[in-house]
């Protein structure tokens, strides 16, 4: 069960893995995720988006950045090893239909969950604009795959090492401001990026879907640890989401909640950092 069939490094600390999970592969739809646990006794349960699936091979593809304890351990595994626990597919699938002109914005590792959604949007007959952003060229992932399906592709890097220099919100704003106006935007990436994408599209009234990656425990709606405020309501990301209307999500609360288990000093530091980014953003 859950044997690693293929492993590839996509960028610094970013890995792609194909894992044998036939049932998940056949049931999964764009926008869904799995919960992964490496160690049966003392491991933690973390959510990872299903980036792709191959029903013939009976495998799912995960793309992850080695940032925490579990993702580091996962990155150390090799082809032939098994992942102790993979639960899924979880979450409500993305609502796919022919909207017209759809603009997909992916930041950093967020390009991975964006890819299956962009694919499905394209397959449903939408005109597809893709904006991809990364800190620098070597952190950019899935460029080839995205180029294949995009009608128009814009790449941004923070340091200007590739594509346009600057944040993804700049081209996003340009697309919103010029005719024909996009019918839907999908933004996936770091919380701050999603927040500012939503702020960018708000004045243009372009509906913006975001995919939230909160702290999770069970992933089945049992604990409420993943809850976020959407509009006036509390929603559980693992069952009601992970996708929500970005114009209704309380990002500040979500970003604070993501800090819950980091030492408090860390959280304060993060907060200052966020404010810094916020000042720089449009």
């Amino acid at each position: 069960m859950n044997k690693i069939l293929h492993k590839k490094r996509l960028a610094t600390d970013v890995y792609q893995m194909r894992i044998a999970a036939p049932l998940i592969a056949s049931e999964r739809k764009a926008g869904q995720f799995v919960i992964v646990q490496i160690d049966s006794h003392f491991g933690e349960r973390i959510p990872l988006t299903i980036a792709d699936a191959d029903t013939k091979e009976g495998s799912i593809t995960l793309i992850f950045q080695a940032v925490g304890r579990t993702t580091h351990l996962l990155a150390e595994k090799s082809v032939g090893d098994t992942v102790a626990h993979v639960l899924g597919p979880l979450g409500t699938p993305t609502h796919i239909e022919k909207f017209g002109r759809v603009i997909c914005v992916g930041g950093g590792i967020g390009v991975a969950p964006l890819h299956p959604i962009a694919q499905a949007m394209k397959a449903a007959g939408n005109e597809l604009i893709i904006i991809m952003g990364a800190r620098s060229k070597e952190l950019l992932i899935l460029e080839e795959e995205m180029r294949k399906i995009a009608d128009e592709l814009v790449i941004c890097t923070d340091d200007g090492s590739y594509g346009r220099k600057g944040l993804v919100t700049e081209p996003l704003k340009d697309f919103c401001a010029s005719a024909p106006k996009p019918d839907l935007a999908v933004a996936i990436g770091p919380p701050v990026m999603m927040k500012f994408c939503a702020e960018t599209t708000r004045p243009f009234a372009v509906k913006t879907m975001v995919s939230l990656n909160t702290i999770m425990v069970d992933g089945t709606g049992m604990c409420g640890g993943c809850r976020v405020t959407v509009g006036e309501e509390t929603k559980f990301v693992c069952v009601d989401g992970p996708e929500f209307d970005g114009h209704l999500v309380d990002f500040d609360n979500m970003i604070t909640r993501l800090q819950a288990f980091k030492p408090k000093e860390d959280a304060e530091h993060h907060r200052c950092h966020l404010e810094e980014i916020a000042e720089k953003s449009p």
Binding site: E27, F42, E44, A84, H85, L87, T220, G224, T229, F261
Partner: protein, 493 residues
């Protein structure tokens, strides 16, 4: 009074037992002192996760059993949800025949080591006990639960648990969703008849609430694991990391995977919140989340990767077992102060009396007739306190109960950094949302007939998913009923 050690209680019981002069008349039996449950010293146990109640010695068990009057009317049996022959097994204990005692219990109950520990005996079998009535206190009733635990532990510790006999294969297949007490019961009862049984559990370890909710210090996980091993030894297949409704739909199990019948025992796993201001601040947890991190994910062990929130002052909202467990866990995980806030009085608390007593001994501070109105935040969005409103008991209502009514203007603040909400659970909507035609009540529980059958043919359900958050013994009873119906259905078709 200082805390008596187990040795002191054991020695005392030896002396008391030796002093008994047979034959015992009812008056003599009533004069035997009720045996106290030996427990870890409160000052020590609040620092560890090991079991609090240590169990009777043989002498204690025999003495306690001698207190039973063997009433011809057997009122205790009527109080037992699964109708165990209580005087029957108690009689065997007085004879020192523990093997027969546990045999009698096992005729009706599959999980005696669990039920002996977690059943609310004081409202079930021990409530109508003649001895308790005569001595005018349910605390003085024969300690049926402790005796049940004693013989169950005796059986397990002596390696005497026998794997039940399984009839030859029938070729029929049954799928069970969830692995809590309801599901464990169905699995055993259906497998015994020779049907093949597969249990699907969403979590990475089977056991349901017994594992992820009830803490180690109240129900050692080795006991739960043992029950699951027993199922495996009978040939039950247990598949973890499998969530019905997502990995596979309920109806696919019937239509595509060839199962002849299904049992849904998915429990009441949807945490309720208070819907007050500040509930999404950092530091507010559902009891489910807090307990899962602490128990299933072993947050109490520093080898665990799952983090536990570093709390100094904790407020737990609620008065049931879940609230007591969360409060006592928080204490063991390092909180300096733990406050329990409950809207009514102690008499209305749904928790087992023993847990309430243990919680108090450990230093949990009870705040009764109070309810939070909002949770306060510091400038970073972390919990910094809570606003409470005082209540008083109003005029008796039609049922004669005095309802708590808020005292106007009585708001006050409490300084806390963590709030754990333990006000109950609704049922998880996943199965009903993904199973067309499955009838549910307005509370989201599954509607079943008197055999445990749902609105879909061949699909049965029981436990908390039918009753709403209830008890282990009721879940087991429901499992028994559904298993019987499933076995009858499979025998016919």
């Amino acid at each position: 009074m200082s805390h008596p050690t187990a040795e002191q209680l054991y020695t005392l019981a030896e002396q008391q037992l030796a002093a008994l002069t047979t034959p015992l008349k009812p008056k003599d039996r009533m004069a035997i002192p009720a045996q106290e449950m030996p427990a870890q010293d409160p000052t020590l146990r609040r620092e560890n996760m090991q079991e609090v109640a240590l169990g009777y010695s043989e002498a204690q068990a025999k003495l306690e059993a001698e207190r039973c009057l063997q009433c011809p009317t057997k009122p205790c049996i009527k109080g037992c949800p699964v109708g165990i022959d209580i005087p029957g097994f108690i009689q065997k204990i007085t004879e020192g025949n523990f093997a027969d005692a546990i045999g009698i219990i096992r005729e009706n109950s599959l999980l005696p080591a669990v039920c002996g520990r977690v059943c609310p005996q004081e409202t079930q079998c021990q409530a109508p006990c003649t001895v308790g009535k005569a001595l005018k206190s349910v605390d003085k009733a024969v300690a049926i639960g402790r005796l049940e635990r004693f013989v169950a532990d005796w059986e397990r510790e002596n390696g005497l648990i026998k794997t039940p006999h399984v009839k030859p294969d029938t070729g029929k297949k049954v799928a069970i969703v969830g692995s809590g007490p309801a599901s464990i019961t169905v699995a055993a009862d259906v497998r015994r008849e020779g049907h093949s049984v597969t249990v699907f559990e969403a979590f990475h370890r089977p056991g349901g609430v017994l594992l992820y909710g009830i803490p180690e210090f109240r129900l050692p996980k080795a006991i739960v694991d043992r029950e699951i091993e027993e199922l495996r030894a009978m040939g039950v297949e247990v598949i973890t990391d499998f969530v019905i409704g997502r990995t596979r739909r309920l109806t696919d199990l019937l239509k595509k995977d060839g199962y002849d019948a299904l049992f849904v025992g998915t429990g009441a796993g949807l945490p309720k919140f208070m819907n007050i201001e500040g509930e999404n601040l950092v530091g507010v947890f559902s009891a489910n989340e807090y307990l899962t991190r602490a128990n299933l994910m072993k947050g109490y062990d520093n080898r665990a990767a799952t983090p536990i929130f570093p709390s100094r002052k904790v407020a737990v909202l609620g008065g049931g077992n879940v609230a007591m467990d969360a409060a006592r866990c928080a204490l063991r995980l390092g909180a300096e102060e733990v406050h329990l806030i409950y809207r009514r009085t102690e008499a209305e608390m749904p928790a087992r009396v023993e847990e309430i007593a243990h919680a108090k001994e450990e230093g949990i501070q009870f705040h009764l007739l109070q309810n939070p109105t909002r949770i306060l935040a510091d400038e970073r969005g972390w919990v910094s306190g809570m606003e409470l409103l005082q209540y008083e008991l109003g005029e008796p209502d039609d049922s004669g109960r005095r309802r708590p009514v808020p005292v106007k203007g009585s708001e006050c603040e409490m300084d806390v950094d963590t709030v754990i909400v333990a006000i109950g659970n609704d049922s998880n909507p996943l199965i009903r949302q993904t199973t067309p035609g499955l009838e549910t009540s307005k509370w989201g529980t599954l509607v079943v007939d008197e055999t445990g059958k749902t609105s879909i043919d061949r699909v049965f359900a029981g436990g908390d998913i039918v009753l709403g958050a209830a008890t282990v013994i009721l879940a087991m009873g429901e499992g028994r009923r559904a298993a019987k119906a499933i076995n009858e259905l499979l025998a016919r078709s």
